[in-house]
């Protein structure tokens, strides 16, 4: 069977949208949100092969699944997030929980467990996090001891506890990270195994439709065949192999949640008459609260899609790109949801409107699968290595690429990208020469600036190559205008923030010299026409989202 093509992906997304439209009303979501309860019947329907069978995407074809590619999985994640981030998290937990198996399982293990998940519609949970082991998995405390019979390891006894596990209280199958004598390893534990208990569901700020619970293991016996890969000590490798991929999915959550919030606000603004006209016609309202978010969403979409296509070729890795996608998209989504409340004023602040719930929900995307700060550190480390290895040429080479791009297509902001990359290269170099990365804060901020520039660059490059990212509702001309705005702002942020960091940590640096090198003035010069471009985008938004 062929891989799913674009038409098939769109069909799946349409089915998902229609299902949600007919089955999941906002009132229903509100009710579950208030009750702090997982809508298990909805999840079961989503897993029902005859209704949707969403979970089949993550199961390879040879085990009765759909062998979904990264592209369709992220697009489904985006759509799920638009429906409800709690439900999305419930589905995602099954995706995530199956990943250690996907990466490290033996063919026999895959056959056994994937068939179970595919055909019996089992919910899966991913049990890694502990009280003292969040992003820092090295502090893992849960242990798996050998059970030996006739001199042979026949099984393991797992003891310890896990916390904040999505689907923790409702899953049928758990993949659990524990420290075996040979090192950290993944084990499959089924619900009902003696000694294995689940705590009560957490009372969370958001994603209240997602079940989150602690797990406790008291000498829980699992047979040796439940050790994923049948080899101890592979746990961290198996966990890290999929970070690029899983973080891309959470990036899509941030995108979907943010889009849903701003679209709700924009719809409202089209109908809310103040001072003689709808809010959506007011320039300040649009440019402050709505338009910049759509620009960032389209940049995020371009980047997520580009990374997804790379992952489909490389399968694993791209940890830095996954981190960039997640940091950028989830922070953008979170900020957008906050502004959506602001845009709707008092209405937005009530539970009568979806934006209040989305704001609470989307915040989790900046926390789980690596907090924004952990991601900033990851991104910084990844690209710092490139900067050092290339003797400072890494971003200068990319700047040259964008100079050439600008010569071919002057409409997509490639000139600003080139300036931004040169500024970034200089900032990194000053940090190296003056040892400024000894400040942890500097490394965080650099991670943020790197993410800002790389996303903007991909968006601009896609537009220069006349690529309209699938799932976008905008035409190429509008996307080019967006890319132009985005490139200028990202370069400006990079140069301005960079100077703040360098001068803020190293007063001895010559201000005039570094300012000239970073060329903030040159970047500022590109701002001509910026507000006109933003107004153009606003007009397009009014046209597309007019009711």
């Amino acid at each position: 069977m062929a891989k799913n093509d674009l038409t098939t992906r769109n069909l799946m997304l349409d089915s998902l949208k229609q299902y949600a439209k007919n089955r999941i009303s906002f009132n229903l979501l509100r009710e579950y949100d208030a009750k702090n309860e997982i809508p298990l019947d909805i999840l079961k329907e989503m897993y029902d092969h005859d209704i949707l069978g969403v979970h089949l995407l993550l199961i390879p074809e040879e085990y009765g699944g759909l062998g979904g590619q990264t592209t369709e999985i992220y697009r489904v994640c985006e759509q799920l997030a638009r429906i409800d981030l709690g439900i999305a998290t419930g589905v995602f937990a099954t995706f995530l929980g199956s990943d250690p198996l996907n990466v490290g399982g033996t063919p026999e293990q895959k056959a056994k467990w994937f068939k179970k998940i595919a055909h019996e519609n089992k919910l899966v949970a991913y049990g890694a996090t502990e009280a003292d082991a969040g992003s820092d998995l090295v502090s893992l405390r849960t242990r798996a001891e050998h059970v030996i019979q006739n001199g042979k390891v026949v099984g393991y006894k797992i003891t310890g506890s896990k916390m904040w596990i999505s689907n923790g209280g409702v899953a049928d199958i758990y993949t659990v990270l524990a420290l075996a004598p040979g090192g950290p390893s993944w084990f499959i534990v089924e619900k009902g195994t003696p000694g294995f208990t689940q705590d009560v569901h957490e009372d969370k700020h958001g994603i209240r439709l997602s079940n989150t619970a602690g797990l406790a293991f008291d000498e829980v016996y699992v047979p040796a065949e439940n050790l994923i890969g049948l080899k101890e000590g592979q746990g961290f490798l198996q966990a890290q192999a999929v970070f690029g991929y899983t973080r891309l999915m959470v990036a899509a959550f941030g995108l979907g949640g943010g889009e849903e919030a701003v679209e709700t606000a924009l719809e409202y603004a089209g109908q809310r008459i103040q001072a003689g006209g709808p809010l959506s016609q007011k320039q300040g309202f649009m440019l402050k609260l709505i338009t910049p978010h759509y620009i960032r969403f389209e940049a995020a979409r371009a980047y997520i899609d580009w990374t997804a296509k790379q992952l489909e070729v490389n399968n694993h890795g791209l940890a830095t790109e996954g981190a960039i996608a997640k940091l950028y998209a989830t922070e953008s989504g979170n900020k957008a949801a906050e502004d959506a409340i602001q845009a709707m004023g008092g209405f937005g602040y009530t539970k009568e409107f979806a934006v209040e719930k989305i704001k609470r929900d989307v915040k989790i995307t900046c926390i789980y699968e690596g907090t924004s700060e952990v991601l900033e550190m990851t991104i910084f480390r990844g690209r710092w290595q490139e900067h050092l290895k290339s003797r400072g040429q890494y971003y200068l080479n990319q700047a040259a690429e964008f100079d050439a791009l600008h010569a071919q297509n002057p409409q997509v902001g490639a000139d600003s990208i080139a300036l931004g990359f040169r500024a970034l290269a200089r900032i990194l170099e000053d940090c190296r020469v003056n040892k400024l990365t000894r400040h942890q804060y500097v490394t965080f901020m650099l991670g943020d600036l790197i993410s800002e520039m790389e996303v903007a660059a991909v968006f601009t490059r896609q537009c220069a190559n006349k690529i309209v990212t699938e799932g976008s509702r905008f035409d190429l001309a509008t996307l080019c205008t967006m890319a132009r705005v985005n490139a200028r702002q990202s370069a400006f942020k990079t140069a301005g923030e960079g100077l703040r960091l360098i001068l803020g940590t190293c007063p001895a640096i010559n201000t005039a010299e570094v300012s000239q090198a970073v060329n903030l003035v040159g970047i500022e010069d590109k701002m001509r026409g910026l507000i006109d471009d933003m107004d153009t985008v606003s007009a397009k938004l009014r046209e597309i989202f007019k009711k």
Binding site: M1, A2, D5, T7, T8, D14, Q18, H49, L57, L66
Partner: protein, 262 residues
Amino acid sequence: MHIIVCIKQVPDSTQVKVDPKTGTLIRAGVPSILNPYDHFALEKALAIKAKTGAKVTVLSMGPQQATAVLRLALALGADEGVLLSARAFAGSDTWATAYALAMAVKKIGQFDLVLCGQMAIDGDTAQTGPEMAYHLNIPQITFCESIDANGNTVVVKKLIEGGHQILQADLPLLVTMTMPADYVAKYPSFMAAHKAQDKLIRTWTDADIGADPHKLGLEGSPTRVDRIFPPPARTKGEMFSGSDMELANKFVEILKKERVVK
């Protein structure tokens, strides 16, 4: 039994706006969907398939993007798809479209039943189905809400002014379907969408179906659209308030004034 269902890709009219200046549809950002009447007709054909084992072929005319609705139909259970796509078809009105579709049906060959939606929501003409029956020289029944196949005959429930008729007819036949107000369209599961990729969609041009090019496109279309415009907005009504008795007296007064009652 072989059923041919004619389907069309249309802009989702719930999201389409009319530009008040030019009178044209603003299509920017508007998703395309399977015409809901055709969706309903397709589901009815698939119900007959489930009961009798009939073969269902879906037929559409449109640009390459229209493959999407054929794929949806295949995912829902249709067996094969045919797309009529060529420059010669562009600009066809209902008459020329019906001619092209009828020629395609003839090329498909043996068939027992042609099912169409009553109308497409982008044009609202309800002409193409009946005109196809003319071109195919077969009988037709329009505005049917249900259909059941029984051996060599079908039984339909046809909506008429103030009620309905139950009609039985021999095959071959063309039926256009309308749908109940509470109709909720079915959509395929992910697996069905995936598997539909393996089903056959043939793309035919005007030459493939042996159509006379003079009978296609603008040249073959007797209809000329003079102007499209949104209907003028209704003027605001007058609002009254008061007790029931006061309101009743007010209404009687107005009715008398307007000479509706004496």
